[in-house]
């Protein structure tokens, strides 16, 4: 099996890494400290044109395969997983259904500007009473003449308060649970559609997360993103594997930075006359992080490769997300321990990685839900090693 990246992919990865180091790295502390959306950085970075990566060249994309995309996400998260969350909204979740189902006018008005970074996109699932349980979605859409009227409130929406348009998961038939769900496009400026409370988070500061409120919001028929009513959940599965691998790639990126910092620290910090890297219990931490990171990398990239090959690696993508996120949480925890009390100080990076990493627990499914599902798969004989 040839697990190597192609020469082109190596070049791409190096170029993105260098771009991230030059543009984003110098700003990450300030972004965390001020908790403000970095508009200048957003414009500069999105202006380079990477946002359309996974989309076809004829709409300004790169036709990039999933493995290449993962390389991009990983490098981005190396600097700031918060900024990465905002960027990836425009790259995948916030634009996919417009690409897939939007008419030409919608593409012109929303999709293309989003890929250029000129508009901010988002997707809304979560509500006060429903996270993992999307069947319990209460935001609803009622058919009226020429369109739909949407009512409800969405929570925990990345980019929400800044969004120029949102892909909204709403039910057209609450009795059908998950089978009654649909995606609707709602644009800023539509009467009744407004940002609600901003949520102040432990980490991933600088990416604005908050409520979106829909009060009798009318959208025309074209804004139903989908061929049929009630197929929302099925469409979601088209990108769910990719979203999960992406989360895994982000997790690897954060862990890499934390590890690199810790390596440098352990090589220099002296205790009892020796550098702390010479002590076995410290070395054990590095060994464990390295082993888990290597495993995560193989899982994430192999699942991504399968997506690129046209397969449907549903279990593998879940596993990759679960494994990489748990690895990342372990890594950032251990890194703060390696730093001793300095791991608790704002002056050093590890506390930020620690705070930011936790956000990866939620995207793409909580681990409790994923493991429950995977356990069932194994017991049903639908997964064998």
């Amino acid at each position: 099996m040839d697990f190597r990246l192609s020469e082109e992919q190596e070049f791409f990865k190096q170029t993105v890494a260098d771009t991230v180091d030059r543009l984003i790295m110098p700003k990450v502390e300030e972004i965390d400290r001020t908790d403000e959306f970095p508009w200048d950085l957003w414009r500069e970075f999105t202006g380079l044109g990477y946002l359309g990566m996974r989309y076809p060249e004829d709409i300004g994309g790169m036709d990039a395969d999933p493995v290449t995309c993962m390389l991009f996400y990983e490098e981005l998260a190396r600097a700031s997983v918060g900024f990465a969350q905002s960027v990836t909204m425009n790259m995948l979740m916030g634009t996919y259904f417009l690409f897939r189902f939007g008419d030409d006018a919608i593409k012109e008005r929303c999709l293309l500007p989003a890929l250029r970074g000129e508009k901010v996109a988002t997707i809304c699932f979560t509500e006060d009473q429903s996270g993992s349980d999307i069947g319990a979605t209460r935001t609803n859409a009622k058919k009226v003449d020429g369109g739909w009227v949407i009512n409800g409130t969405k929570n925990w929406i990345t980019n929400g308060p800044l969004a120029d348009f949102a892909t909204v998961l709403a039910t057209t038939d609450p009795t059908k649970g998950a089978k009654g769900l649909n995606f609707f496009l709602v644009e800023k400026g539509t009467p009744g559609f407004s940002p609600g409370q901003v949520m102040h988070k432990l980490g991933c500061r600088g990416t604005v997360t908050g409520e979106l409120v829909f009060e009798d919001v009318f959208v025309p028929d074209q804004n139903l993103l989908g061929e049929e009513v009630g197929k929302g959940v099925i469409y979601l599965t088209e990108i769910l594997n990719e979203v999960r691998c992406m989360t895994g790639a982000l997790a690897i990126g954060v862990a890499r930075t934390a590890l690199a910092d810790a390596v440098e620290y352990a090589q220099k910090r002296v205790a009892f006359g020796r550098t702390i890297g010479e002590y076995q219990l410290i070395r054990e931490k590095f060994a464990r992080i390295a082993v888990e990171m290597e495993a995560s990398r193989l899982m994430v990239y192999s699942a991504a490769w399968k997506i690129g090959e046209g397969q449907n690696p549903r279990n593998e993508a879940m596993m990759a997300k679960y494994h990489a996120t748990e690895m990342c949480l372990m890594a950032v925890d251990e890194v703060t321990r390696i730093y001793g009390a300095n791991g608790f100080a704002e002056e050093y990076g590890p506390q930020r990685y620690f705070r930011d990493a936790r956000f990866l627990l939620y995207g793409g499914g909580t681990h409790e839900v994923l493991k429950n599902f995977l356990g069932k798969e194994v017991l049903a004989g639908r997964w064998r090693s």
């Binding site: 020469e7 082109e8 070049f11 791409f12 190096q14 170029t15 260098d18 771009t19 030059r22 543009l23 202006g47 380079l48 044109g49 990477y50 359309g52 990566m53 790169m62």
Partner: protein, 254 residues
């Protein structure tokens, strides 16, 4: 105007280095990229292209290396690239490299050759001016500012204790210093072009370039570790005198 940029591929500044085989060789971590100063040269060339419509060719020379450097040049806006790929370039004398690059420039045609003032792996700064000599054209090293009017270049450079402004006519070779231009972060269009590009290759023989035997390498050694601290105590005047003497004579940094 035809611009040829000399682009050297060097190990990443953070690449780990180990002395191996008892000092006979160095093992260098395989992270390579375009030499920092050559990147400035590429940027300057691309700016001239955008301002006056010049053509930009980036050339690199190595034994199985150079592709990364050339792809970077393409991503930044060089139109074409050429790789002089020859095993004889492994451990080659700078004069051999200069002969290869001069032959390439001569073959492709040039009005202006731009190169970084030195490469970060050896800080030698030899190849650029050697190429000028071999091409029989004037050379200005360490350029920090550049203006062009027709065929005449007005350049500035730092010299000890000051700054010089000079005039030279094309064809010429300039080696560039930090501050001349800020290398752009390549946009995705350039990156895609670079990823898809087929790199043309040529050998020393095809260029008619003859090798020059390198100096005999006696061996490599590692960087010396910092010795335990020498503590100085006493009256400020005495301590200062002692310290100055140590810095001058022992540490040799003054």
């Amino acid at each position: 105007m035809r611009i040829v940029v000399l682009a050297k591929e060097v190990p990443d500044l953070e690449a780990q280095v180990r002395v191996v085989n008892g000092g006979a060789a160095l093992e260098v971590e395989k992270r390579r990229g375009l030499n920092f100063f050559d990147e400035i040269a590429v940027e300057q060339a691309v700016q001239l292209k955008q301002a006056q419509g010049a053509s930009v060719l980036a050339v690199s020379a190595g034994a199985g290396t150079g592709v990364e450097a050339l792809r970077r040049a393409l991503a930044m806006g060089a139109e074409t690239v050429l790789l002089v790929d020859d095993p004889a370039l492994d451990g080659a004398d700078p004069l051999t490299v200069a002969r290869a690059l001069a032959a390439a420039a001569r073959r492709e045609g040039f009005d202006l050759v731009l190169a970084g003032k030195q490469a970060t792996d050896d800080e030698a700064g030899l190849v650029g001016p050697m190429v000028a000599e071999l091409l029989g054209v004037p050379c200005v090293t360490g350029v920090t500012a550049l203006e062009m009017e027709g065929d005449v270049l007005r350049v500035s450079r730092e010299v000890e204790g000051g700054r010089e402004t000079l005039r030279v006519s094309l064809p010429a070779v300039l080696t560039v210093e930090k501050g001349l231009a800020e290398p752009r972060v390549p946009a995705v269009m350039g990156v895609m072009k670079a990823m898809k590009a087929q790199i043309s290759r040529v050998t020393l023989e095809e260029l008619g370039a003859v090798t020059f035997p390198p100096l005999v390498l006696v061996g490599y050694s590692g960087a010396p570790a910092r010795p335990p601290v020498t503590m100085l105590e006493g009256e400020p005047a005495t301590v200062a005198a002692d310290l100055a003497r140590l810095l001058r004579e022992k540490a040799k940094v003054l």
